[in-house]
């Protein structure tokens, strides 16, 4: 990218953002300090935040005004020395010890109350299992719907996330919901929220986790109950409606689970590019241990089931197993790689996903 376009883009985004900040301010409870509010706890958290901010502003202005006033009024001029004044005054000291003490006790109490609300999940909450692995989020619903970097949640119903990590520390953070919880390998952590505004929001990984940390970003869709149920159904079922001859198109939809490690343009990623695998279709591939194998459908299935079994030469064993994925999805991915030459990439190197031939086109669900 040349420097000029970067600067032009940034200029445009700056202008958009400065006006955007203002327009956001009028929608969804966003303010100068806080993003839009989309969960039941947001307003409480913002209330505590604003309380502390106003207390802080009061003290800051007090200190600032006094500092500047004294610095100007008592600045050293010809013939003016320091005027005598006491160098200690115990009642004054006690005043500015005790008043802040009372204030911080109140703030602590407000914060503790809010925290207890944040950590106490309602009993009837809808459970979603979350697996964090570098650098993707996997969300599993109880009906079998599994989504990658995309989370559907019902509007107005409490949701509990049960979170596990496959590798290092991560942290699930949804700014609009004001919730955050670290995901720790070796234990299950939980997080709950109840979304109050339909819309789409970003979900970030907040705990540093390596190379693609800044891309470990997912999208949260808050959906009204009926739409939520319909999407969930579709997410679990759509693959069954795909006819065998269109499996490669289904595979293109599933590719979003692979994109963070496997490129389509032949460039090297965390794992080998699918372009390379495609070009080797029917030919032999060499593995780290020196063995060789013909690239075919079975090879793809084995790689999904047991990624550590055959590691392509020059790469590390970093992929986690997709053993629990159903067979049709696995076959769809194999078909996709086999027929990769039928697909096109856009200017940014992203896959253009053609529509499925079935009347019902899945959106977002995989």
């Amino acid at each position: 990218m040349n420097v000029l376009t970067v600067m032009l883009n940034a200029g445009a985004s700056l202008a958009a953002a400065s006006s955007g900040a203002l327009t956001l301010g009028s929608s969804g409870g966003a303010s100068f300090w806080m993003p839009e509010r989309a969960s039941t706890v947001s307003a409480d958290v913002d209330w505590v935040f604003n309380l502390i901010t106003w207390v802080s502003i009061f003290f800051f202005v007090l200190i600032l005004v006094l500092t500047v006033y004294f610095a100007v009024k008592y600045r050293r001029t010809e013939g003016r020395g320091a005027e005598p004044s006491p160098s200690h005054h115990t009642p004054l000291e006690l005043t500015w010890t005790i008043i802040p003490l009372i204030i911080v006790i109140i703030i602590f109490y407000m914060g503790m109350k809010g925290y207890i609300d944040l950590r106490t999940s309602p009993a009837n909450a809808y459970e979603i299992n979350v697996t964090a692995k570098r650098w993707d989020w996997t969300f599993q619903h109880s009906n079998g719907c599994t989504q990658y970097d995309e989370l559907f949640v019902p509007l107005g119903r409490p949701v509990v996330l049960k979170m596990m990590s496959d590798d290092v520390l991560h942290s699930l953070y949804i700014p609009a919901f004001r919730v955050k919880q670290d995901v720790v390998p070796g234990r299950i952590t939980t997080l709950w929220f109840e979304a109050t505004r339909p819309g789409i929001y970003n979900l970030f990984c907040a705990e540093y986790c390596g190379t693609e940390h800044s891309q470990m970003v997912a999208v949260v869709h808050v959906l009204p109950e009926e739409e939520f149920q319909a999407r969930l159904q579709h997410c679990a079922q759509w693959i069954n409606l795909v006819p065998e001859e269109s499996l490669h198109l289904a595979g293109a939809r599933l590719f979003s689970q692979c994109v963070s490690c496997h490129s389509l343009d032949g460039s090297r990623g965390i794992g080998p590019s699918f372009r390379e695998t495609h070009e080797l279709w029917g030919k032999e591939r060499e593995f780290a241990d020196g063995s060789r194998r013909i690239v075919d459908e079975n090879y793809i299935l084995d790689s999904l089931n047991n990624p550590g079994g055959e590691i392509v030469k020059g790469y590390a064993n970093q992929m986690s197993s997709f053993r629990t994925m159903d067979d049709k999805r696995k076959r769809a991915l194999a078909e996709f790689i086999k027929r990769l030459d039928e697909f096109e990439l856009d200017a940014n190197g992203r896959l253009i996903v053609p529509p499925l031939p079935t009347p019902q086109t899945p959106e977002g669900g995989q």
């Binding site: 990218m1 300090w33 993003p35 008592y74 320091a82 970097d149 590798d167 800044s214």
Partner: protein
């Protein structure tokens, strides 16, 4: 010249006392060791600052590709590790403290001069390990070395510099411990007759409190990093969950040191500010005992609050609430100090010179840094703000805007004493104001984008999955933050320029250019090898009424009509 060094009977000062490379490399003189520390720390600051500029440039626009993601991760790790371990922790205690502390106390040297020199070489050795880490492939773990990312070379950081960097920090830790031990013993055992505890300048109280933290907290960091290195090298299964370890235990160990370490950074800075505000207002410090005891209180409370770095880590809710409660206790002694400084300014004779401008900047910046700490100590809001740019802005306001600017203010204050030269006052003021503006422009926008949810340690704020409105939301704040960092860099280069210039071309400094009462202003500038040609007069170190301006020296001198107080109290060592 002879008028300027009028009362100096010695022909030489500590700089000219002996010559040659070895006379510096093997010196046991605390002043020379302090100067060597100062040069080393400022050099490290230069490199740490360069890394910061690279980080800010990468973030100035969304989608920048100045650095690859891995390079970015390495650069922010190095920026953090260098600034914390090589710059801020040794800056005031080891560099300025080494030079000033014994003179301020009226001692001839620190208690263990050889140990002092060894501390310096340990520092150099530790810094060399950082270089080694760079050449061995770098580190990308963040300065916190969180497990299991840092311990697993396959799944986590594949960069091979982790163990050398851990070794470096381990060694730097011992450098810090030995400096702390030296200062504690010096203050306990080397006070001259008349220098009672409550006659000590507040800088000494602050350094003393710091030294206590250094001695008590750093060993825990040493053992933690030792365990971490063994975990990475041999997989001993202490912190790595795959081997039966507990990653949260590492965080507890790490913050048990690293939270008190924040006070290792800020307490001496507060000590400097107490001196600067009083001296440059020619006004007795207000609430001496409250300031002194608040330093001790901060040192004690500082040991009890480490869990506030871990509110979202998965530690138990009860512990979280307890840590939050104790955390607020730290805010009280800090508030006491700020109000006492304000009261000191009241009715003073305030000289708005360079050191004082830094001190006033400190008051404003530290207020912001401290008050935003309330947002982070409060549980309900910290859950939202943790690991965002709000935290980044908060700790830069405290660690950089407060600790480091106080150090630079102190450097200007004691520059005439250290080098014997005066710097250009006009350029000094321009530099101080430039740093203040640049600093706030850099870090204030980070508060806003942080509270809007921008996570820290992100290489980019656009890409797959990013909603365009989020990218647009964060973009202007990142842009202005980067612009601010350039302003700050320019001001720092200006500062470096006129300071270096003054060494060669500066006007010779008088013994007491500011009218300070503490003992270092009673010896010549620069001080003689043995610190004092005549025994210094110990009195109330904040009583400025006994000094008057001497036009001939361009400095202050003792008023002839006021008798010098005799040494009060008996020397316990003289029988």
């Amino acid at each position: 010249m002879s008028t300027i060094h009028s009362h100096s009977s010695a022909e030489t000062n500590y700089l000219t006392h002996s010559r040659g490379f070895l006379s510096w490399a093997l010196t046991l003189d605390h002043k020379r060791i302090g100067v060597m520390y100062l040069v080393s720390v400022l050099l490290s600051f230069f490199f740490g600052g360069l890394f910061a500029l690279v980080v800010r440039t990468q973030l100035i626009f969304p989608g920048m590709d100045l650095l690859t993601r891995d390079q970015y991760n390495q650069v922010f790790t190095l920026h953090g590790a260098i600034m914390v371990f090589l710059v801020i922790i040794p800056s005031v205690p080891a560099a300025l403290g080494n030079f000033i502390l014994p003179i301020m106390l009226g001692a001839k040297d620190v208690a263990f001069p050889r140990l002092n020199l060894m501390s310096y070489y340990l520092w150099l050795f530790g810094a060399a390990f950082f270089l080694l880490a760079l050449f061995m492939g770098g580190i990308d773990t963040g300065w916190t070395f969180y497990t299991p990312y840092s311990t697993d070379a396959d799944k986590g950081s594949q960069f091979a510099g982790v163990i050398p960097a851990l070794t470096g920090v381990f060694i730097l830790g011992f450098s810090s411990i030995f400096t702390g031990m030296n200062f504690i013993v010096t203050i306990h055992r080397m006070r001259p007759p008349g220098m009672t505890w409550f006659r000590m300048p507040l800088f000494l109280w602050a350094t003393y409190a710091t030294a206590v933290i250094q001695v008590l907290a750093t060993p825990v960091l040493a053992i933690t990093l030792g365990l971490l290195a063994m975990e990475r090298a041999f997989g001993i299964g202490i912190f790595n969950p795959a081997l039966g370890g507990d990653p949260v235990l590492y965080q507890h160990f790490f913050w048990f040191y690293s939270h008190p370490a924040v006070y290792i950074m800020i307490l001496p800075a507060m000590g400097i500010i107490s001196e600067l505000i009083s001296v440059h207002s020619h006004k007795h410090i207000f609430g001496y005992k409250f300031i002194a005891f608040s330093s001790i209180a901060i040192a004690i409370f500082g040991f009890l609050v480490w869990g506030h770095h871990m509110f979202t880590s998965g530690q138990s809710e009860l512990i979280t609430v307890i840590f939050s409660a104790i955390t607020f206790s730290v805010s009280i002694p800090s508030a006491i100090k700020v109000f006492n400084w304000l009261a000191t300014l009241y009715k003073g004779s305030i000289s708005l010179n360079t050191p004082m401008l830094y001190a006033l900047s400190f008051m404003i910046i530290f207020s912001i840094g401290g008050l935003t700490g309330l947002h982070l100590g409060t549980l309900a809001t910290d859950i939202h703000l943790h690991d965002t740019y709000f935290v980044v802005a908060h700790f830069h306001y405290v660690m950089m805007g407060s600790a480091l600017l106080a150090m630079i203010g102190g450097l200007h204050h004691w520059w005439p004493k250290i080098t014997g030269k005066m710097y250009n006052e006009t350029l000094g003021r321009i530099g101080a104001i430039g740093v203040f503006i640049g600093f706030n422009l850099t870090f204030f926008p980070q508060f806003i984008m942080g509270s809007h949810g921008m996570p820290r340690r992100y290489h980019d704020y656009s890409g797959v999955g990013w909603l365009p409105e989020m990218t647009q939301l964060y973009a202007p704040y990142h842009f202005w933050s980067s612009v601010g960092s350039y302003v700050m860099a320019l001001a720092f280069f200006l500062t470096a320029g006129y300071l270096i210039h003054s060494i060669f071309r500066g006007r010779p400094a008088p013994a007491n250019p500011w009218g300070g009462r503490s003992l270092e202003w009673q010896c010549s500038s620069p001080p003689p090898h043995n610190n004092f040609d005549e025994a210094p007069t110990v009195g109330d170190c904040y009583d400025y009424s006994v000094l008057e301006w001497d036009e001939a020296q361009q400095g202050y001198r003792w008023r002839p009509d006021v008798p010098r107080p005799g040494a009060g109290g008996a020397n316990p060592y003289k029988h």
